[in-house]
């Protein structure tokens, strides 16, 4: 078959090297988190010592808990708002202020985080708001709802409009047609949007640094300040735990989206 010859040796080599480049550093990090030796680069046998260290580190645990709470609440609010925004953009046709609306939703996707963080902090200071959990949650919601909107909007855009028409033809008013037909069909995209929002929030250092207050550091802020002082094996353990958590979230969410739609094509994880 021609298909076989389409894949040249160069293609295979670049794919293999590319994937190795993407995965090796992470694998090495995970491997060293189980290293008994304090020296990061000397293998001292398998051990869970650094995980125990982490669970004894109260400040770290508190930061991790803060990050989790922020990630869950901001992802949930962002999914709600982002889905509404996507519906308005893909089904609202032309309306007043549409250009400004879509501009506000696309800009944060590529806006340097230092700018988003700085501007939100200035707002919170001017409002005299106490900085902590809520300010970080609001900041993360603002950023991640834009990602949710893009993911959901692209699914809505590829949905066959005649399905909604069929629902109306069969006796649904527009709102019920949306609930009965559109919503179940875009559910995988909404789940994917939540996952994306969750991991982006869990990941963010810059915006959280600007918008949080003293005494309520998130996990990335803690990790960052530790990393600046040098490599510590405990950080390897924390990072491995975060990777594991995200992996679990991805697996659960993709299973859920598979169950919710037996459709052949489910939304891409991005």
């Amino acid at each position: 078959m021609r298909k076989v010859s389409r894949l040249s040796r160069f293609n295979i080599a670049s794919l293999a090297l590319g994937l190795a480049f993407l995965y090796l550093p992470i694998l090495i990090l995970v491997l060293y988190s189980f290293n008994a030796s304090r020296l990061v680069t000397v293998w001292g046998g398998w051990s869970l010592r650094w995980y125990r260290e982490f669970f004894k580190d109260r400040a770290m645990i508190e930061a991790a808990w803060m990050s989790l709470r922020v990630a869950v609440s901001s992802a949930t609010i962002a999914t709600l708002l982002g889905t509404l925004a996507a519906v308005a953009l893909s089904r609202g046709e032309r309306f007043r202020g549409r250009t400004l609306f879509s501009g506000m939703l696309y800009a944060p996707l590529v806006m340097p985080e230092v700018i988003t963080g700085l501007s939100l902090l200035l707002l919170f200071v001017a409002l005299n708001a106490e900085r902590g959990f809520w300010t970080v949650t609001i900041a993360h919601t603002t950023l991640t709802m834009c990602f949710v909107a893009v993911v959901v909007q692209s699914r809505l855009g590829s949905l066959d409009r005649s399905l909604e028409e069929a629902a109306m033809d069969l006796g649904c008013n527009p709102v019920r047609a949306f609930m009965a037909v559109t919503l179940p069909l875009i559910a995988p995209a909404i789940v994917a949007g939540w996952m994306l929002a969750f991991t982006l929030s869990l990941d963010d250092l810059v915006i959280a640094s600007f918008t949080t207050g003293p005494g309520s550091a998130t996990l990335p802020i803690r990790i960052y300040s530790e990393v600046r002082l040098g490599v510590k094996p405990e950080i390897n353990a924390i990072c491995t735990l975060v990777i594991a958590l995200i992996a679990v979230v991805i697996v659960i969410a993709s299973l859920a989206s598979k169950l919710s739609s037996s459709q052949g094509e489910s939304a891409a994880p991005l």
Partner: protein
């Protein structure tokens, strides 16, 4: 089957019990309906009556406005002008879910997340029907379209033909007063399409329902519909039975759009009793029957269907000027196209024009066939010709 339908009609429940129109009154009356998209007049002043129990086809090339007209009947578009009366009530501005009309979509628009059963039950649930009643009705519909055993499947586990049946059952389940079908067979292959055409007609007769089908396939329209409305550029060009449309097209455009036809531009005309003698540039003088409507002063043409043209090696006896007078044209076979059941010959006439003749291959052996460059006489009677304004 029509008798088996129970008296309690969901549709009546849904719509507040609209009475069917009195005998003789049309079920659906479209009055001067127009729809513009920007400056483009998609539908431009269409008026049409549809009787109860009719199988009506809207036929036309793509972009002629037939789908827009259908979507206005379903309620997906609202007309800019005119009225749509269903059983005497104007529904032009009613929303889709408020109309006792259902539609079968071109790509079927089956809900991919629902099973066959739930797809069919979808409209019944909206109507607030009782559970047990829904189950009965769904079973009835499944039997009607012969989908027994597939109730639990999802649409992507069905073949194209099965999906078409689900779409039909779903649209019929609410017992609409009017069923709209938007190119219902376009996605099926040729063999399946032909058998499905038959089934659709059967079903329509049995249920005694009113169907309006939109199609660009004239053969499909001719086969199924009792009346056809041909649309061109947003207007109804002719509304007629299939036979009338084919044998007595109202204009040159319709004659060319429906089936194959030979056309000869007329230059002069002479009355000869109740016959006309028309002088054409390409085929000389042709004797034709007097048209039903008098010809205007504009241009006109003589039209003759290829299968009405006979070919022979020698001229048959003709007595010009008498009732049985026929048109005789000498020519040479210029092209042969063998189609199985028929053969189409292109004859280069001595008078300059080309003439197509379609001959039925009634014998298996080709003793009767003509060969290229053979001299032939083509002939046809005045009654087989139509004079058309161009």
């Amino acid at each position: 089957m029509a008798e088996e339908l129970p008296g309690r009609d969901v549709q009546a429940d849904v719509t507040g019990g609209d009475a069917l129109p009195a005998a003789g009154q049309p079920l659906l009356r479209i009055e001067g309906v127009a729809k513009r998209f920007g400056t483009f007049r998609a539908v431009d002043g269409v008026s049409l009556d549809i009787k109860s129990g009719e199988f009506f086809a809207l036929l036309g090339p793509s972009g002629c406005g037939k789908t827009t007209l259908l979507r206005m009947l379903a309620g997906f578009e609202a007309p800019d002008e005119g009225h749509i009366l269903l059983g005497g009530k104007d529904i032009a501005q009613a929303l889709p879910h408020e109309r006792p009309i259902n539609m079968m979509f071109q790509n079927y628009a089956l809900f991919p997340h629902l099973s066959v059963r739930d797809n069919i039950a979808f409209g019944l649930k909206r109507a607030g029907m009782a559970r047990a009643e829904i189950a009965t009705r769904v079973a009835e519909m499944v039997a009607l379209v012969k989908l027994e055993g597939l109730e639990k499947r999802k649409p992507d586990q069905l073949s194209g033909g099965q999906r078409q049946r689900v779409a039909l059952a779903r649209a019929l389940a609410r017992r609409p007063q009017l069923l709209l079908l938007d190119e219902p067979l376009a996605a099926l292959d040729k063999k399946l399409r032909e058998s499905t055409q038959g089934e659709l007609m059967e079903l329509q007769r049995r249920l005694g329902m009113t169907f309006i089908i939109v199609t660009h396939d004239q053969e499909e329209a001719m086969t199924m519909a009792s009346r056809i409305g041909v649309m061109k550029a947003g207007k109804l060009a002719q509304v007629a039975s299939p036979r009338e449309l084919y044998e007595a097209p109202r204009s040159r455009w319709i004659a060319e759009f429906v089936g194959d036809i030979n056309l000869f531009d007329g230059e002069t005309k002479l009355r000869d009793g109740h016959r006309l003698v028309i002088g054409t540039r390409d085929a000389g003088a042709l004797v034709v029957a007097e048209p039903r409507e008098p010809l205007g002063t504009g241009k006109f043409a003589v039209a003759i269907r290829p299968e009405k043209v006979k070919l022979s090696r020698r001229a048959p006896v003709s007595e010009a000027g008498r009732e049985t007078a026929i048109n005789l044209l000498d020519g040479v076979i210029a092209d042969i196209c063998y189609l199985g059941g028929t053969t189409t010959y292109k004859v280069k006439l001595d008078s300059g024009g080309m003439l197509q003749a379609s001959v039925v291959n009634s014998a298996r052996l080709d003793v009767d066939a003509y060969s290229l460059n053979q001299h032939v006489v083509a002939w046809f009677t005045p009654d087989d010709c139509v004079v058309l304004p161009s």
